[in-house]
């Protein structure tokens, strides 16, 4: 307002058009309070019915969380690979593995697809192998594969920890092999065995040995960093020509 050089006793230009003022009255030019009283509106308490709805919602949400699909991007722990993003975000104060860690809720980084039947025709072909590792693309090229009945399908993931540990080790070995093999067509047809396992990041001390033993690991000295580039799809050739186009 002051840029108009308001003189004493004269109205500011445009002041008569203000909505706040009366048609003919004096304008109120006093400054507005710095911290005006502010009424914070508070939410009403939930009615019993709403409470019931919320409870149902929470139950369902909890089930999703407990279920096989809930997965996070980085489960920061000291077992993360060196130099990876997860390792950088590691919390040194609370992240160190402790005994009670074995009770801690485990976080997945991949949804677990096994353990329930799927109806294959609802999924696109390129995901069939992910859903059902036994599916071979060359077998039945037309029509959909009849669903294979799984006997003794497991629900929940706590009970197959023992297998997982083995699988984790095996997978590690396989990963290395794959990297050396150069990953011929990593784009759509994945190694069925690889798909079969699931990845659970937990603070199992046995598994951590490789990575945590020390800063220096002669075996992984050279191929340690390769995994990332392969996974992120930036530097590797296996990703196919598609990416080169941008």
């Amino acid at each position: 307002m002051s840029r108009f050089g308001a003189k004493k006793g004269r109205k500011l230009p445009g002041a008569e058009f203000s909505w706040e003022t009366d048609a003919g009255g004096e304008p109120d030019t006093a400054p507005t309070p710095l911290y005006p009283k502010y009424n914070v509106s508070r939410a009403m308490l939930l009615t019993p019915r709403e409470q019931l709805q919320v409870d149902y919602y929470r139950d369902l949400r909890d089930r999703y969380h407990e279920g096989p699909y809930y997965s996070v991007l980085d489960a920061a722990s000291s077992s993360a690979k060196k130099g990876s993003a997860a390792r950088v975000n590691f919390d040194p104060f609370h992240g160190m593995p402790s005994y009670s860690g074995k009770y801690q809720k485990k976080k997945r980084t991949l949804p677990k697809l096994q353990g329930r039947p799927y109806i294959m025709r609802f999924f696109p072909r390129e995901l069939w192998q992910t859903i059902q590792p036994s599916f071979k693309p060359e077998n039945s090229m037309d029509g959909y594969v009849p669903q294979i009945a799984r006997t003794g399908a497991k629900r929940g993931f706590e009970d197959d920890e023992v297998e997982e540990e083995d699988q984790m080790k095996r997978r590690k070995a396989e990963d290395d092999e794959e990297e050396e093999g150069g990953g011929g067509d990593g784009e759509d047809i994945l190694d069925p065995d690889e798909e079969q396992e699931e990845e659970i990041v937990d603070d199992n001390f046995e598994d951590d040995d490789d990575d945590m033993g020390g800063d220096y690991n002669a075996e992984q000295y050279f191929d340690g960093g390769d995994d990332e580039y392969g996974d992120d799809g930036f530097g590797d050739g296996g990703g196919g020509g598609e990416e080169d186009t941008f």
């Binding site: 909505w19 509106s41 919602y57 609802f122 994945l190």
Partner: protein
């Protein structure tokens, strides 16, 4: 249709329920729309394995559409915002199902939601759908009581008695499909679940385009030309789309337009209605028992046939919207009429619901004034009379003392007084039956009164029928919602101004002041603040070419459509903020919450947590509930502005 706020909200909902991986994929798909796998990989910066698994799981939950094009065989993925949004409505839906069809149906529905879509054979294997389960868990006493009750029922039914019934597990096995299949059938008959089709997994546009391609390649269509060609193509396309997406399961499961498993249970539920708050659990028991009885009666007929085990079911959100809309209407009726009238209305709406597959035929809400009239199915009065509980005291609430009694029925009063309650009904059934119908008609007339016009009367072929004019009532709901908001924000003066503007159209300040009888000062302040908020706006009409302010007419107007769409965006944003707040509150208490979620602590909190921690957990739960409750209230508004 999709806006930034809506996209943000959907992403947050997906992330909240399924974790960051889903959230990342979903957000990428929302931002870039359709993507094939390599592109998606590039933009989302995820690994192949993460993407493959994530996408497969998301398709299972129907959060992602996919479409493989015929030309190049490339599969494209697209975010399904609709499904993502309905995550937030799931609590409401489950509560509704529980109220309508009992606890077990809600559990079943929850299981279907949890699985995305599921085949009946898979549902059979689920442990939580076996009636035995609550016994072991012992979550609360009512469950236990109820299921014991059911056991008694089963044994009393006699069918199970001839089986060797000593071993408990065997009993469970025989009982499990016994409850599951009837409940599934009831849900299907109500239309709350439907058969999953392949077309449900691709977006609606893709389905339409596919159908169009099929139609245009037909030889008989190719020979057509011009306008006729266009019309036939559109018509045939719609036919094909309908056929492809139609998953209706209710066919053959209704008797005279009433789904099985609904009728008797309802009578029991309604008799307890006025005291429902007190006796919710007892009421439920009754309902279950009634249902069971009916099912066992039907065992003789064709209903022993279980659902085919290869059938794949999913939740029918469209139909559930209709049901929830009716709940809302009933709420409106309860506000300004007696409980009995509301119950009569409920019976009418239920009849209508059975025959209404979706809320609207158009995708978007039609603009105000252009919406025309959309009447529901007319329901004959006699059908409503059948449905309304026989014990319900119809005459009590429309006696002479009733202030809500409409003027036109003054003359009939003594007659109604004479029909006093149940004694008369008992003595001569014929006359009381007709007077009951008459009273019902009176109740419905009451509802048909302005301002809400919740019902309207039709005479179809000499029969009195009642319908509901959907668009009108939906508009009223919308306006009430807006008016509520304006009053809360700008006070009652503003509300008066808005109402005047809405009733009279565009007005200049002087006229507005005359009509609304407000001093200039108040009026201007209120108008200015509302204009800043975007609720009213100003139109300039110059009287000459110079457009001088002094020679220009300024007209105030209030456009409900515009305001509603703005408010809708605000509501989306508010919902997002609630969810973000929740996330933040969670992160503040992360260490503590992780402790409570430890596998040894969870379930026996009393044993492991200290008193202070228990208190903290309780506080956290209350806080979380409040935030979710707020989201669900906002969702009510979204439903009014977008879905009804």
């Amino acid at each position: 249709m999709t806006s930034q706020n809506y996209a943000e909200l959907c992403t947050l909902l997906v992330e909240d329920s399924f974790g960051e991986l889903f959230g990342r994929i979903f957000a990428t798909l929302e931002r870039y729309d359709r993507l094939n796998l390599p592109r998606l990989k590039f933009y989302s910066r995820l690994t192949d394995r993460q993407l493959h698994h994530g996408l497969a799981a998301m398709i299972q939950q129907n959060l992602v559409f996919h479409y493989t094009s015929y030309d190049d065989g490339v599969t494209y993925y697209e975010a399904n915002q609709h499904a993502a949004y309905y995550l937030t409505r799931s609590g409401k839906i489950l509560e509704f199902i529980e109220g309508r069809l009992g606890q077990y149906a809600a559990t079943l529905m929850s299981a279907i939601m949890y699985l995305g879509h599921a085949s009946v054979s898979h549902l059979e294997t689920l442990p939580e759908l076996r009636p035995e389960q609550p016994h072991r868990n012992g979550i609360n006493g009512e469950h236990k009581y109820k299921h014991e009750h059911e056991h008694e029922q089963d044994e009393a039914n006699g069918e199970h008695e001839d089986q060797p019934n000593g071993i408990d597990s065997e009993h469970a096995l025989s009982e499990q499909p016994y409850l599951l299949h009837p409940t599934l059938k009831t849900l299907a008959a109500h239309g709350y679940i439907l058969r999953a089709r392949e077309a449900h997994f691709q977006s609606y546009t893709d389905t339409v385009l596919d159908a169009e391609r099929v139609v245009t390649s037909r030889p008989d269509i190719k020979s057509m030309k011009g306008k006729r060609l266009e019309e036939t193509v559109i018509e045939k396309t719609l036919e094909i789309v309908k056929e492809k997406t139609d998953g209706d399961l209710s066919h053959g499961l209704k008797y005279n337009g009433v789904p099985r498993g609904a009728k008797q249970g309802r009578g029991a539920a309604q008799s307890n209605d006025p005291i429902k708050t007190e006796q919710a659990d007892v009421d439920e028991d009754d309902e279950e028992d009634e249902d069971e009885n009916e099912w066992s009666d039907n065992e003789l007929g064709n209903d022993t046939v279980p659902m085919e085990s290869s059938l794949i079911v999913r939740v029918n959100y469209e139909k559930l919207d209709v049901a929830l809309r009716h709940c809302r209407f009933i709420g409106l009726a309860e506000q300004d009429s007696s409980a009995v009238t509301a119950e009569v209305y409920e019976s009418l709406l239920r009849r209508i619901e059975y025959q209404t597959p979706r809320c609207r035929d158009t995708v978007e809400i039609p603009r105000e004034g252009e919406e025309g009239e959309q009447y529901s199915v007319p329901i004959p009065l006699s059908a409503i009379a059948e449905d309304v509980d026989q014990q319900l005291d119809l005459s009590g609430s429309i006696g002479p003392m009733d202030i809500s009694q409409p003027f036109s029925r003054r003359g009939k009063r003594p007659l109604e007084d004479g029909v006093n309650g149940t004694s008369n009904e008992g003595t001569n059934g014929l006359s009381s039956g007709s007077s009951r119908t008459y009273e019902l008609d009176q109740h419905l007339c009451l509802l048909a009164q302005p301002p809400h016009n919740l019902t309207s009367k039709r005479i179809v072929g000499g029969l009195i029928t009642w319908t509901v004019e959907y668009r009108y009532v939906a508009r009223i709901l919308r306006h009430l919602e807006l008016e509520k908001m304006i009053e809360a924000r700008y006070g009652d003066v503003a509300l008066r101004v808005v109402r005047v503007l809405h009733a009279k159209g565009k007005l200049d300040e002087k006229r507005l002041q005359e009509i609304s009888l407000l001093p200039f000062k108040d009026l201007r302040q209120v108008l200015a603040s509302m204009q800043t908020g975007g609720y009213v706006d100003l139109q300039e009409v110059p009287r000459d070419a110079q457009r001088q302010p002094s020679r220009t007419i300024f007209l105030w107007f209030y456009d409900p459509d515009r305001v509603a769409s703005g408010v809708l965006e605000d509501v989306y944003k508010a919902m997002s903020r609630c969810l973000q707040r929740l996330k933040f509150e969670r992160s503040r208490l992360r260490e503590f919450l992780e402790k409570t979620e430890r596998s040894d602590v969870k379930g026996n909190e009393e044993q492991y947590l200290s008193e202070g921690e228990l208190k903290m957990l309780e506080q956290w739960k209350a806080k979380e509930a409040l935030l979710f409750g707020e989201v669900s209230r906002l969702d009510n508004m979204v439903a009014v502005f977008r879905d009804y």
